[in-house]
């Protein structure tokens, strides 16, 4: 499956790329903020978008909302260094498939969310 990583921290994007590639995912692109992600996603058409919640400019929830509004959205997995409980129902309401805390990111975790 193809994945795009959207996060404003390069160190996390690198780590996530290594984790997911080793789990058999194909990383088709990375974006450092919401604007860049919205521009790249229709072009790269990933199956999954790993989307950070807190980013400068447009935040992750807003990016998710716009993707769904456009129609034919990829599968969206929200992520943050904070606990998912901090965001309450916001994750569910954004239309994302699920949430993974950054420290717990792994291939099985992604598959579990998408299952």
């Amino acid at each position: 499956m193809t994945v795009m990583i959207v996060d404003d921290h390069r160190s996390f994007r690198h780590a996530a790329r290594r984790v997911l590639e080793s789990a058999g995912f194909e990383i088709v692109g990375e974006a450092g903020d919401g604007e860049a992600a919205l521009e790249a996603i229709p072009r790269l058409r990933p199956d999954i978008v790993l989307l950070d919640v807190q980013m400068p400019g447009i935040d992750g929830f807003e990016v998710a909302a716009r993707l769904i509004e456009r129609g034919d959205p990829p599968l969206i997995v929200m992520t943050s260094s904070r606990d998912g409980a901090d965001f309450g129902a916001l994750v569910e309401r954004s239309g994302a498939r699920g949430f993974i805390q950054k420290g717990d990111l792994s291939g099985p975790a992604i598959r579990a969310v998408l299952a």
């Binding site: 780590a15 984790v19 260094s81 420290g103």
Partner: protein, 419 residues
């Protein structure tokens, strides 16, 4: 003797002369049935109105009620001209006869200040005076005063005798009079109801006596078309009620002074036993002035404006809003304002007297209110500092999120892969 006292004494002397003249006219009238009754009514009514009027005028010169009352007394003496045996004086009397009733309407509507409050009220009273005099004129041209009354003086204004025409014009005048009385009664009742709503019954017995008398005269005018003994009875009832008006006024004056003296005494007493002083000071002043809607505001030199007991700014009421503010000063220095119902404006001296009695406590309250205003200002500035602190904390958290925390997360993920 001061000029005002001289004027009042002159009016009193004139009243005596007019009373005697009216008495002579009545006693020597050839065409009056109950001379004795009318002589007594004349003396009682005229003298009591002029007497109480001059007394009220002397005691409270800034209030016009006394002057209007005196005016009604003089109108009453003038109305006796009707009983003259001289044809011209008698004809003039036909115009002055209904004037005391217009005067009474004026008195009742202008109470308690003695000034008519609105243009509408001035119109009503102007129309009442005109209806009593000028509107009688057309009928006089057709009224043969000697028809059915051999001893009556002739009508010098008579052009041709025409009883139907005379009766028709009289009916119009009566109809206007009855309508005016109804409209004036409605205005007075509205005022009484409004004053009662805030617990200020300034109107009392006088207004009730006045309105009842007006209504009795309204019935008299309405019954003119029917005549007969019923009309005579209504006439006596109406004039009998008329006599009660000045006495009701006098009673109200005395009662008001007594009530005021006891109100101030109670206020001073209440200030001595105040637990929650702020509330009870307002309550005590409110009780003393009989205005449940009353509020106090204190002068704050620092804010250059008035503040309430909690230190919040207070805007003074605009004129015409139904509320008014009376400033209380101590040694020429603004202390506080009493914000009260408009109907108390006529009694600004009472408000100031009550405020003066409470001045010391008011001064204390003013200082306390100013202190509260400062505490509030302090609290606001503290809350600004706390808000600034919050913002700083959030900035630190964001820095942490952006920097060290993310590195730690990445490190953890990498470590897991290496294992």
């Amino acid at each position: 003797m001061r000029p005002r006292a001289r004027i009042l004494a002159g009016l009193a002397a004139l009243a005596v002369v007019m009373a005697v003249a009216a008495d002579l006219l009545i006693r020597n009238s050839d065409h009056l049935a109950d001379r004795g009754v009318w002589a007594v009514l004349n003396a009682a009514l005229g003298a009591s109105f002029v007497g109480t009027g001059l007394y009220a005028w002397w005691r409270r010169p800034e209030n016009r009620t006394g002057a209007v009352m005196t005016w009604v007394g003089f109108l009453f003496f003038l109305s006796a001209l009707e009983f003259s045996n001289d044809s011209w004086l008698s004809a003039l009397g036909s115009f002055t006869d209904p004037l005391p009733i217009a005067g009474l309407a004026h008195l009742v509507l202008a109470y308690p200040s003695g000034r008519l409050r609105s243009r509408y009220h001035r119109w009503l009273i102007a129309l009442a005076y005109i209806n009593a005099t000028l509107f009688q004129l057309p009928g006089m041209f057709f009224w043969d005063s000697t028809a059915g009354c051999a001893t009556c003086p002739t009508n010098p204004l008579l052009i041709s005798s025409h009883p139907d025409l005379y009766n028709a014009t009289a009916a119009v005048v009566n109809l206007i009079a009855v309508s005016l009385i109804a409209l004036i009664a409605r205005e007075v009742i509205t005022q009484v109801a409004r004053a009662r709503k805030v617990g200020r019954d300034v109107y009392g017995l006088f207004t009730y006596a006045g309105v009842t008398t007006l209504v009795a005269f309204g019935c008299l005018f309405a019954s003119h078309g029917f005549g007969g003994p019923g009309a005579t009875a209504v006439r006596y009832i109406a004039f009998g009620l008329f006599v009660t008006v000045p006495f009701a006024f006098l009673g109200g004056l005395v009662k008001g002074q007594l009530a005021r003296a006891s109100a101030v005494a109670e206020l001073v007493d209440a200030l001595g036993h105040a637990d929650d002083r702020r509330r009870s000071l307002r309550d005590a002043i409110s009780a003393a002035l009989g205005d449940s809607s009353l509020a106090l505001a204190y002068w704050s030199p620092e804010q250059r404006g008035y503040i309430d007991g909690d230190g919040r700014r207070v805007e003074l009421p605009d004129p015409g809003s139904g509320r008014a503010a009376t400033p209380i000063e101590r040694g020429g220095v603004a202390l506080a304002v009493v914000i009260h119902d408009d109907s108390l404006v006529e009694e600004a001296d009472l408000v100031r007297a009550v405020g003066g009695a409470a001045a010391l406590t008011l001064e204390n309250e003013r200082l306390a209110a100013e202190l509260r205003a400062r505490v509030q200002e302090l609290r606001a500035s503290r809350s600004r500092i706390v808000r600034a602190g919050d913002a700083e904390r959030r900035r630190l958290e964001r820095d942490l999120h952006d920097g060290a925390q993310q590195r730690l997360v990445a490190l953890a993920l990498n470590l897991r892969l290496a294992r």
